[in-house]
């Protein structure tokens, strides 16, 4: 994919990592790998995201939210000149109980893009257990393109 350079992607990762509002702040996400082919993000354990009193079992919704966020990031770096992006639909399979206090790893990519739509897929596992996926998801996003690209909007904002 021509367009965005690795340096620009790294720049996006830095801005994204220190972004200070909303759910991704609580999730304390850290981008570990970023390219047009795939993005990988780490979420540390957070007891607020659990369903049980012992706080060892993550709520499925947290995994759904993670996929939605990381899909957005994957599209951002894979698609040239996007100005807005909205999740059209999202499907998630919960493959195993998300029972661990280990960091959560999410890996996602945009596997097809057209002028108006992006298609994504991604996987989630606990750090060190890449062979025991806990969730897998797919999504489609509606895109708009224009002069005011998402990249320029984000880079314009004061850090």
């Amino acid at each position: 994919m021509a367009g965005m350079t690795q340096a620009q992607m790294n720049e996006i990762a830095q801005v994204w990592n220190r972004r200070g509002k909303g759910l991704i702040t609580d999730m304390a996400l850290r981008i570990e790998e970023i390219s047009a082919e795939a993005v990988q993000v780490r979420m540390p354990f957070n007891p607020d995201f659990c369903v049980d009193a012992d706080q060892t079992l993550l709520h499925g919704g947290v995994l759904t939210a993670l996929l939605d966020s990381v899909f957005g990031l994957a599209n951002f770096v894979a698609i040239e000149g996007v100005s807005t992006m909205a999740t059209l639909d999202l499907r998630v399979d919960y493959l195993r109980p998300a029972q661990s206090r280990a960091d959560v790893i999410v890996r996602a990519h945009c596997y097809r893009q057209t002028r108006h739509i992006a298609f994504n897929s991604g996987s989630i596992w606990f750090d060190g257990h890449a062979n025991d996926e806990i969730a897998r998801g797919t999504a489609s996003f509606a895109l708009t393109r224009g002069e005011n690209s998402l990249y320029s909007q984000i880079m314009k904002e004061p850090a």
Binding site: G22, L23, V51, H59
Partner: protein
């Protein structure tokens, strides 16, 4: 099971407190809940819309309560979900209604609608499966 008793159990689930919602209505085959907006629910920092994952999580929570309103510790076990996002969720309360389409011995299918101003202008629509065993 009274609504107060259900809400008492809801308040003991850490992630349900994070979502910050209350059950408003419960029946044999449905549940309704209302979530109060908080900064931590924001997905888009510029527009301050709800995060799609928070909307899906709230719908999942409402569906789980419809399936098993008498849960004490753990809500019903989700298998998978599909959500259609129809409109942005803006700052303010979000409503969800979960209707059980089918509840067998092992599996339940639940249809959920989320809206803000009125149910005929939904924010999202979803289908959720739960394992009952």
């Amino acid at each position: 099971m009274t609504i107060d008793a259900i809400n008492a159990n809801v308040s003991r689930v850490p992630f349900f407190r994070f979502l910050n919602f209350e059950v408003r209505d419960i029946g044999e085959r449905h549940a309704e809940a209302e979530m109060t907006f908080a900064t931590r629910h924001i997905g888009n920092p510029v527009t301050e819309y709800y995060h799609g994952g928070i909307i899906a999580s709230f719908m999942e929570a409402t569906a789980a309560i419809a399936v098993r309103p008498d849960f004490v510790k753990m809500p019903a076990k989700p298998i998978n979900l599909t959500v259609d996002y129809l409109r942005p969720g803006v700052k303010g309360p979000l409503h969800a209604r979960a209707d059980i389409t089918r509840k067998g011995r092992r599996i339940a299918s639940v249809s959920v609608l989320a809206w803000q101003s009125a149910p005929d202008t939904p924010v999202a629509e979803g289908l959720y499966h739960f394992l009952l065993v």
